[in-house]
Amino acid sequence: MPEEFEPKIVAFFCNWCTYLAADLAGTSRIKYAPNAEVVRVMCSGRVDVQFVLKAFAKGADGVLIGGCHPGDCHYQEGNYKALRRYRLLQRLLRQMGIEEERLRLEWISAAEGDRVRVVIDEMVETLRRLGPLHKSEALMEVA
């Protein structure tokens, strides 16, 4: 049988909510797809547009950004800043011919361990459907 395409996801998780949710998923032994690998940042607001573009340029098929729910940000409003950047990125990616679904922003609180599973599994599904990322010159230039 043909080897199934295994997408690679770079996940930027904020230290206070989503990273803790991932820890909770762990301690609750919730099983999810091994395709996402986490880069810990203090706040989703730290996620630089360059980080995302770099990830795609270096071969990520998808990028996931996880932050605290609106109003619950450990730094008051970092997640709103992340949201703004996310919108900008969506436009950017569209122009580079990269499917929007490849970038996902999720609010996952420290209590939502199972949400981590749902989001990552869903995303792997989507990316399997989309297939590997084809990198445009535009992308390689900016990153």
Binding site: K8, V10, W16, C17, Y19, L20, A22, D23, A25, G26, T27, R29, I30, K31, Y32, P34, E37, V38, V39, R40, V41, M42, C43, G45, R46, V47, D48, V49, Q50, F51, K54, A55, K58, G59, A60, C68, G71, D72, H74, Y75, Q76, E77, G78, K81, R85, S109, A110, A111, E112, R117
Partner: protein, 662 residues
């Protein structure tokens, strides 16, 4: 990155079998050894153990390591442990990076091959990243010695007294007109049956008279600024219209009220008795100062009252009907949240008839009934004036139920047993306990259950289906019928009773979300406040200097609450006595040569940590105010803004590490 050649040591942990079971630790270690700059790679059973840490300390010396990577559990668990190990080993603790291959690999994946692959990727990323690490110094902030304790229940009282006795000044802020919380409503406490008042009221008056405690009842926190060691808190004191300093607590004003009969439902007695518009919640209330409730006081409603209360107070002039709310700004170094719980609203499960049938009570109401200082002076008489011959106690009302609350409220079983005993004692009634499981996991609890069994309380295992006035048999006429499957006897039973007691569960207070946001702490799914670590930091929160005590964290009984309150006080003391706290160095700073003075960073910072220096036309970060989120760094268009431990090149290296051979 610093000029010295990089010599990395990588340590992969088995965590017993926790990691080794699904991740091929040996393979990861061997793989790490092949990575650039890695001079040493080991695997070990328990890296966090003393011998584990020792390995690191020795290798630093013997192999001249200058970067350390540990692949084990979540940094939230042991990052601090290993950084300390580096320090002891004579290396700057921030030449370290931790890889989480337990919570993020072995525990969440089943396929050994994939889990191992992921672990390798993560290690590669860390190895690349750590090469860029730079030596950092922790800053220090002084801890203001004063403490804010929010909530005047048994948790808050105990925490406040502990701190005050240690010579610290405490602000105890309580929403209600008196401290005491739920415990003040109880008659006896399980399993020892000692009287709640006898153990609580002395502590309450101790609070009142303690020189180190500033007690503000009828007050709320409305604003919190600052950071660990230096919180600025705004407290709003609602007017009780009676000056606490002038009032002598003679209570003549109550008698003098133009209302000769009490007409207003008494909240403290859960509406089982009435009070006047000017009242004192209960005889042992602290402070011993009445309150005027403007909602019901004639003077406030119409302005046409003889204000006999004012006359009664006479020369003291303690009553001031024109009192205004007062705002106080206080500075504290640490905060203990002891805001407690509320009981489940039994009306949410209509099939138990609360509110429809007068003789259906909540457990808390019965606590008042059996209480000697309660509305019936300890007589268990029902709303219809009768004394019950048969009583049914329904467990798990609003607990263990996906339709209401899924958690077990932990105290209901025991307080139900206690009430069963007290009701029997007061009335000699037949008592039925309807339970799903009897949970008595505390010191002396099981013995108490045994005692109740011998007292011939009927224990029927089954979740009550309904409480109804539907009569099938003449013997049920005029009584409440409990319909339940006796799952042990194996048939459905109809048991007629005179009185039904609903053992309502504990739930987060309605205002918990506001408190949560004020102090910027996380909440567990159910809405209770989230502790930093369920086992290793049960009273800490993710906000430094803010601690938890009592039921605001999760349902618990009085012994556990008091223990936790003590623990919270100790944590606060530890900070205060240290006098300072070391801050994480992951703050932002400006590379002035690159700064173009666009001020983008300033609009990003919610803490006003970034200031602008017009003379050199550059931004500057106040590292004390900076909390290290890095939002400004991501926003800086010129790359002048940088964040320690989260430098761009560090994160780029990590990303590339993950994606090599992707």
């Amino acid at each position: 990155m610093p000029e010295r050649i990089v010599r990395i040591g990588v340590y992969t942990c088995h965590c017993g079998s926790n990691i080794a079971a699904t991740v091929d630790v040996k393979a990861v270690a061997e793989f790490a050894a092949t990575l650039p700059n890695v001079v040493l790679s080991r695997d070990y059973k328990y890296m966090c153990s003393d011998p584990g840490q020792d390995l690191i300390r020795q290798d630093i010396r013997s192999h001249a390591l200058n970067r350390i990577v540990v692949a084990s559990c979540s940094p939230h668990l042991h990052e601090h442990t290993f950084r300390t190990a580096l320090k002891v080993g004579g290396l700057n603790p921030f030449y370290f990076h931790m890889v989480n291959i337990r919570e993020q690999a072995s525990w969440v994946h089943e396929n050994r091959v994939q889990a191992t692959r992921k672990a390798k990727d993560l290690v590669r990323a860390a190895v690349r990243r750590v090469a860029f690490h730079e030596p950092l110094k922790r800053g220090r902030v002084a801890i203001h010695p004063d403490v804010l304790v929010l909530g005047g229940g048994i948790a808050g009282i105990h925490a406040a007294l502990t701190l005050a006795n240690a010579g610290k000044h405490v602000y105890l802020v309580e929403k209600e007109p008196t401290i005491g919380g739920h415990m003040a409503k109880f008659d006896k406490t399980f399993p020892t049956l000692d009287c709640a008042a006898c153990i609580l009221t002395p502590k309450m008056s101790a609070v009142r008279s303690h020189p180190n405690i500033t007690l503000w009842t009828y007050s709320e926190v409305v604003k919190v600024d600052g950071y660990v060691g230096n919180y600025k808190v705004k407290v709003l004191r609602h007017p009780r219209y009676i000056d606490e300093d002038l009032c002598a607590g003679c209570l003549d004003c109550l008698e003098a009220c133009v209302y000769k009969q009490a007409k207003v439902p008494d909240a403290f007695n859960l509406g089982l008795s009435k009070r006047r518009p000017i009242y004192i919640p209960f005889p042992q209330a602290v402070p011993q100062v009445p309150v005027i409730d403007p909602e019901t006081c004639i003077q406030f409603k119409s302005g046409k009252c003889k204000t006999t209360c004012v006359d009664a107070c006479g020369e003291r002039h303690a009553i001031n009907l024109h009192a205004e709310p007062q705002a106080h700004e206080i500075e504290v170094g640490t905060v203990i949240l002891a805001t407690g719980f509320q009981t489940f609203d039994a009306a949410r499960v209509p099939y138990y008839g609360y509110g429809r049938y007068g003789n259906v009570y909540t457990a808390l109401e019965v606590e008042r009934l059996v209480n000697a200082s309660g509305p019936t002076a300890g007589q268990v008489v029902m709303r219809d004036g009768r004394t019950p011959q048969t009583v049914g106690i329904v467990h798990c009302v609003g607990s263990r139920d996906e339709n209401t609350h899924r958690w077990c409220s932990r105290v209901c079983c025991m307080y139900s047993l206690k009430l069963a005993h007290l009701i029997k004692e007061h009335t000699g009634a037949e008592v039925f306990d309807f339970y799903i499981d009897i949970r008595t996991p505390g010191k002396g609890f099981e013995e108490f259950y045994q005692k109740l069994l011998n007292e011939r309380v009927h224990f029927v295992r089954g979740r009550v289906a309904e409480v109804t006035d539907w009569v099938l048999d003449p013997s049920e006429e005029g009584r409440l019928v409990i319909r339940v499957e006796d799952t042990l006897a194996g048939f459905v039973r109809r048991i007629p009773v005179d009185m039904v007691v609903l053992a309502t569960g504990l739930e987060p207070r309605a205002d918990a979300p506001e408190i949560r946001r004020l102090f910027n702490i996380s909440c567990a799914g159910e809405g209770f406040f989230l502790e930093r670590h369920p086992k290793l930091a049960p009273v800490n929160t993710f906000t430094d200097g803010v601690f938890l005590a009592g039921c605001c964290q999760s349902p618990k009984d009085i012994p556990d609450t008091v223990a936790q309150a003590g623990a919270a006080a100790a944590e606060a003391l530890a900070l205060i006595d240290a006098g300072y706290i070391e801050t994480e160095p992951n703050t932002a700073h400006v590379e002035e040569s690159l700064c173009c003075g666009c001020k983008t960073c300033m609009s990003m910072c919610p803490y006003h940590a970034v200031s602008f220096l017009p003379e050199i036309y550059k931004s500057r970060v106040n590292e004390v105010l900076c909390k290290g989120c890095g939002t400004c760094v991501a926003a800086c268009p010129s790359g002048a803004m940088r964040q320690n431990l989260f430098e761009d090149d560090e994160i780029f290296a990590e990303i590339e590490g993950i994606l090599t051979n992707a």
